[in-house]
Symmetry: C2
Subunit: 591 residues, 2 copies
Amino acid sequence: MKRWRLGLQLPITQWLPRYNRQSLSHDVTAAVFLTIMLVPQSLAFALLAGLPAQVGLYACLLPLLLYTLFGTSQTMSVGPVALIALMTAATLGPLYSLGSAEYLTGAVLLAFLSGAMLIVMGLLRLGFLANFLSHPVISGFITASALVIIASQLQHLLGLDSRGHNLIGIGSTLWQQLSQVHGLTLVMSAGVLLFLLLARTLLAPALQALGLAERSAAIISKSAPIVAVLGATLLTWGLDLQARGLAVVGEVPRGLPPLSLPPLAWEQWQPLWLGALLIAVVGFVQSLSVAQMLAARKRQHVDPNQELLGLGVANLGAGFSSGMPVMGSLSRSVMAYDAGARTPATGAFTALAIALATLFLTPAIAYLPIATLAAIIIVSVASLVDIAAIKRTFHYGRPDFIAMLATLVLTLVHSVATGLMVGVGLSLALYIYRTSNPHTAVLGRVPGTEHFRNTERHRVEVYPDFALLRVDESLYFANARFLEDTVMTLVSEKPQLKDLVLVCPAVNLIDASALDSLDNINARLQDAKVRLHLSEVKGPVMDQLNRTHFPATLTGQVFLSTYAAWCALRPEPGDASSTHTSNNISDNNNP
Amino acid sequence: MKRWRLGLQLPITQWLPRYNRQSLSHDVTAAVFLTIMLVPQSLAFALLAGLPAQVGLYACLLPLLLYTLFGTSQTMSVGPVALIALMTAATLGPLYSLGSAEYLTGAVLLAFLSGAMLIVMGLLRLGFLANFLSHPVISGFITASALVIIASQLQHLLGLDSRGHNLIGIGSTLWQQLSQVHGLTLVMSAGVLLFLLLARTLLAPALQALGLAERSAAIISKSAPIVAVLGATLLTWGLDLQARGLAVVGEVPRGLPPLSLPPLAWEQWQPLWLGALLIAVVGFVQSLSVAQMLAARKRQHVDPNQELLGLGVANLGAGFSSGMPVMGSLSRSVMAYDAGARTPATGAFTALAIALATLFLTPAIAYLPIATLAAIIIVSVASLVDIAAIKRTFHYGRPDFIAMLATLVLTLVHSVATGLMVGVGLSLALYIYRTSNPHTAVLGRVPGTEHFRNTERHRVEVYPDFALLRVDESLYFANARFLEDTVMTLVSEKPQLKDLVLVCPAVNLIDASALDSLDNINARLQDAKVRLHLSEVKGPVMDQLNRTHFPATLTGQVFLSTYAAWCALRPEPGDASSTHTSNNISDNNNP
């Protein structure tokens, strides 16, 4: 339809000429609140990715600026997010030792590679690849990832040191160290967690009770993490808690990140490409759904391929400026929307504010307790655990649930990459399985009408030498063999059969494998002296069949309607007609 | 339907009690002709697999006996075949050096592993997995494999020594040695090739002209390879040609193969499992189509899962008796059928004959020129090259052709494994792509009838505040996003819209992703004050929807027929009705 236009537009040219003072005031206000939310989150997600805290800030600068230029979403906020930080850690962890220079370079390369992949996908208009990720797989993946993230942060809450990127690895290392829990760290963690949870659950209602508007109350309650960061940092600095064993972020380099080209050696890229691809695809799918949700609120349209470009350029920018992979953040985008952001300029103003923070606030970060960041991560990802979706899928359908469960379990106990890939593979395989054994019905005429119904559900007219077979699925390689089997079984059950009509209203596609099967069926029926006819073939399907030898070799005819086939082929009245009677006659809507 | 019964039956119990003298005489005759064809082929295919010639004979003994017990096909002949021999060589070649003990053990393990996989697939009733191989992918794979096989035998025809399992590797090594072509070998090769080609093309017609029945003439002409083998061996022995540089098979161990368990160490299995899986799947798919073709001639039925067991046990047998992977051979099965084989006992008699050959003929094999076997291989696989199928697929449809071409080219220039896996992946991806962007139509009523047609193809009644949208595809994860886009675009184009009916006769399936999308559409339309209705929902689909909250939240109704929706929702006559006129009014059969 109207999708898949060529990319390489600059969406900024559409909104910048109309930019005015009112937009400016809205955007600046939103940028202030966004910065307050973004600073603690970006520090925390860098920690989650196994990277120095300042890398999180770096990943907000160029990406935000570049998305302002290339992104289509009016209010989406790109930057570090928990899911992508986990995937970064899971990709780099097995390859490099934590804290090494190779690990840092790996993160930069990962951002660069996934950015390049997103851009290539955008230019080749491969946005449709996102369709391979079914909702149950994404949902299972996000829930499992959130649980892994929470587990991975327990070490920081307890003052321990766990390893691994799945529940088994993390759990076993934590279990061994359980006697070494650091009391002061635990107190700090509990305090921050309690504060954040109270702020999330009670602050907004309290502020509303004090007369604040709902939206303002929500925005203020979302500033709790920065308050926690400031409070914990001041407390640590004032009481010299780091000397008593509380882990802190420590000295970080001051100033803006250096711009640099990532290393171009294939040996360094080779172990990262699969991780980069998964980050690109997951980042794209998640960002796209955030962008579409926000666009729907304003009745706007998001072009998936332009979005690929915007996100790709943002990740390239992260790669050039010592950052980490980024994507659109749901929580921050909603915050920006609620705070009144009007245009992507909000992102540019936020980048400016983060740049100032990077220049002037980094010395203070030295006293920020890591436990505080861990608590912020846990509270922010806890809402991603969606047990209701698992239940809903369980009740809806087994194939979807199997794919979801496999993704969930494998992500929890093995790795994010395995969970995701097995989930995608399984949903494809199960779809193929479902359509490889489609519903079929032998039809008869509802007496005195032009309607034809399933002989097993309705009282209809049938003849021993004439059969109508409806297949409720497109005919393609997965069910080509099934079709042959079904027809030959029907023929063996009806020894008097002379004419068989394949009724095709549900056949949206006939591929080369199914055409081969139709050829075989036609030839075998000819041996058995049965003519094969088709009816209700859809226009595009018939157009394709007409390009082959098939219509010429078909022993019977192609009828526009099943009634036309009935009129042309039924025996003389009174001949061998019989009205089939079934116990299962119903008025249900099985056509 | 009636498929997927539990395996573990012994089909022999069905035919053995009715076995009589007439069957015996037919089966023994067929076994004699089969042995005459099988001896040279099994020696040649062992050579093709990079194995000593006697391994080919070994792979005929236990497999033929076991298939007699477990196979369902009455006349299928299992044993070494060219395609599987090539796949064996392609799996083992990169791992072990040709002629080493490891290479030999690898072949045994490969037979054992693929046999075990086939049995597991049969017990788990995974016969449907064969459906993943679409006809164009198999066809492209077989044509490419045949070309690679022919290329790999050129070295033996020319007395050279090439390396590699694709055209590039073989071609480049042959090119470098082109000056060293061995004259005597070339003369022998040309003679045998000419003899085989003449026998194939001229012998049968000549024999028929002499008054022989068509079938007898065909059987005799198929004995040409054994004549070539006998003639070439005698010539070499008599003229001492091996002393002049003609490569011969050489001394082979005399006697039956030792029975032994393959090594059980995982380190030895690990590099072979992918190759074994591909051999299992390709062997199964090919054997099944041979079995089905033969069964159809006798109006019998083949159970795919029982066939998995039969083929699996045959391969296990090959693994226990120092053989190589086996499958059903098309050419030998047709030969057995034509020679009058009545029951699987033919296989047992053939095994007996091969055992005698192994015991008493092996000394003679020492003088058999390798060039003769290479010529036999080339003539036997040349008929597998199917250029017409490539042309037909090209004209039929682009997605099928792309999958076929990718399989063909990658098999030729990279490897059989890559070609096959990319082909399967691509056919899945292209199917998903095709269904991710399905055909949709806005419908209107054909005036005065209960029929609804595409507004773009027919002159139909439409209203500005009422729309009928038909989607010609099952709704599932690949097109969930498309559905949302299509509906929201339609709504934005019809500002007066109050009621939208999704017309669902072609929707065979609604998965959890599509249900999410329907939920979203319902909610967004509610915001836009448009009611969403469904019509012509199929029984099984509606049953599934009724298990969810969706019918309760749906803003509109579910109608049995589109006409019922029209009657319930259309405005009063004369209101704002308009008859849509289109330039493209036609009588084509697009419903």
